[in-house]
């Protein structure tokens, strides 16, 4: 399983990497939306993208919209990881195709339970073929 972590905070990227790798998830990092988009367009298929909302340049919400407009990423789940707790923004992200949403601050348990909600703790049916 492969995941992209896009966040301008070194601390958050490091925390998520340390949390996901023991779960057997290979992590690629991006420091902003533009770098994340380049990774998505030039790299191989990913199972999951964890996107911060507020990033310099292209933010996570803009990136989410680009991802969901491209059928190439239909199999990729997107989880917003953000300080935005306004329900209007949560709904906006979900309506735009986010699969889940983690509000900062969060703990290890929160992330692992969200992965279970998305069934990302199980082998991907297509990739396991």
């Amino acid at each position: 399983m492969k995941a992209l972590v896009a966040d301008d905070s070194n601390l958050i990227r490091h925390f998520l990497r340390k949390l996901l790798e023991p779960e057997g998830i290979e992590v690629t990092e991006a420091v902003d939306g533009m770098e994340a988009l380049q990774t998505l367009q030039t790299g191989g298929p990913l199972d999951l993208a964890l996107l911060d909302w507020k990033m310099p340049g292209m933010d996570g919400y803009d990136l989410l919209q680009i991802i969901r407009a491209d059928h190439k990423f239909d199999d990729m789940q997107v989880m917003m990881v953000t300080t935005e707790t306004d329900m209007a923004l949560v709904n906006q992200a979900m309506d735009s195709g986010a699969n889940e949403y983690i509000m900062k601050p969060f703990s290890k348990d929160v992330v692992l339970e969200k992965l279970r909600l998305l069934h990302l703790d199980q082998p991907h049916p297509k990739r396991s073929e």
């Binding site: 707790t85 306004d86 329900m87 949560v90 709904n91 979900m94 889940e100 949403y101 983690i102 509000m103 601050p105 969060f106 703990s107 348990d109 929160v110 339970e113 969200k114 279970r116 909600l117």
Partner: protein, 302 residues
């Protein structure tokens, strides 16, 4: 200064006597960690001083606080996820179909802690079984700790708590932002009632339940207490009802009263038809005439 042998033994005995929960040996450091904040709250310099005061005084609020501190209140919305998937896809459809004529449903979240399990059940019903919207639904949450019950009753959770296990779509639908906290909506809260119950003592005036969740508690009890709980459970579980325990728990070694059903790595239990006990006819919520959970009907089926 770590807890001494005598102090730790006193604490173990105190907790076992009042809650039936067994604290294993070697947990002195854990005990001291949990008692520290209570001692500070009481203006006492250490856990040792707190235990000394417990021994000297008759049982009162301070003793209750210590019991609360020593009880594991770990819980989260839709905890472990799979049991809720089995409830949604298998157990609830069957129970609801069986209850279609009476339009009554009774569920018990035993040892409910701060209420997330009980509210998860209510959300599941609202979300996936709209046909039950105008039914008489009772979700009971019980716990030995009045502190956690007050928290549960309030239905207000921190951001960290709603982040855990609760899909954000359901957060948006069933909660209201309240500063940094999240308040469960009245439509869900009104389905759930909370009350204190010590499972190791006599169970008083409980109704018959279609579904009981008793998860991750039996493992803390001694065999005699587990047997008491399971014997009592037979009297409040509908003969066609379901009992769900936690992942590592099993009733198989405690007698033939329960049959085991395993599906999707979730184990749940039903009463064996041939060995059904006399149903507790003193229940406080009588069924309507002809309802299949009446005492006489149950006994005839046995």
């Amino acid at each position: 200064m770590a807890l001494g042998v005598a102090e730790f033994e006193y604490l173990r005995r105190f907790v076992r006597e009042h809650s039936a929960i067994v604290i294993e040996g070697g947990k002195e450091a854990m005990a001291e960690l949990r008692l520290g904040p209570v001692a500070t709250q009481e203006g006492l310099p250490s856990a040792q001083h707190l235990l000394l005061r417990l021994r000297e005084e008759a049982f009162h609020g301070l003793h209750r606080k210590v019991l609360d501190a020593m009880t594991n209140n770990e819980t989260s919305f839709f905890r472990d996820l799979t049991p809720f998937e089995v409830l949604r896809n298998e157990i609830l459809p069957e129970v609801i179909a069986r209850r279609a004529s009476s339009r009554r449903l009774s569920i018990w979240s035993a040892a409910c802690s701060t209420g997330q399990e009980a509210y998860s059940l209510a959300i599941t019903l609202r979300e996936h079984f709209p046909q039950t919207r105008d039914w008489s639904i009772s979700i009971q949450g019980t716990d030995i700790s009045t502190t956690v019950l007050e928290y549960a009753q309030r239905g207000r959770y921190t951001q960290l708590e709603v982040n855990r296990g609760l899909p954000v779509r359901l957060l948006a639908k069933y909660f209201l932002a309240h500063g940094m906290d999240w308040q469960i909506k009245d439509d869900i809260r009104k389905l759930v009632e909370f009350s204190p119950l010590n499972l190791s003592k006599a169970w008083t005036t409980l109704p018959l339940f279609d579904i009981v969740l008793l998860r991750n508690l039996l493992i803390y009890f001694e065999p005699e207490t587990r047997q008491h709980v399971l014997r009592s459970m037979q009297k409040v579980l509908h003969p066609e009802g379901y009992l769900l325990l936690g992942g590592p728990e099993s009733v198989s070694h405690l007698g033939p009263e329960f049959e085991t059903v395993i599906t999707k790595n979730v184990t749940y239990y039903r009463l064996c038809r041939e060995q059904l006990p006399a149903v507790n006819c003193a229940r406080t919520i009588p069924g309507p005439p002809g309802e299949s959970d009446s005492c006489n009907t149950n006994r005839a089926r046995c």
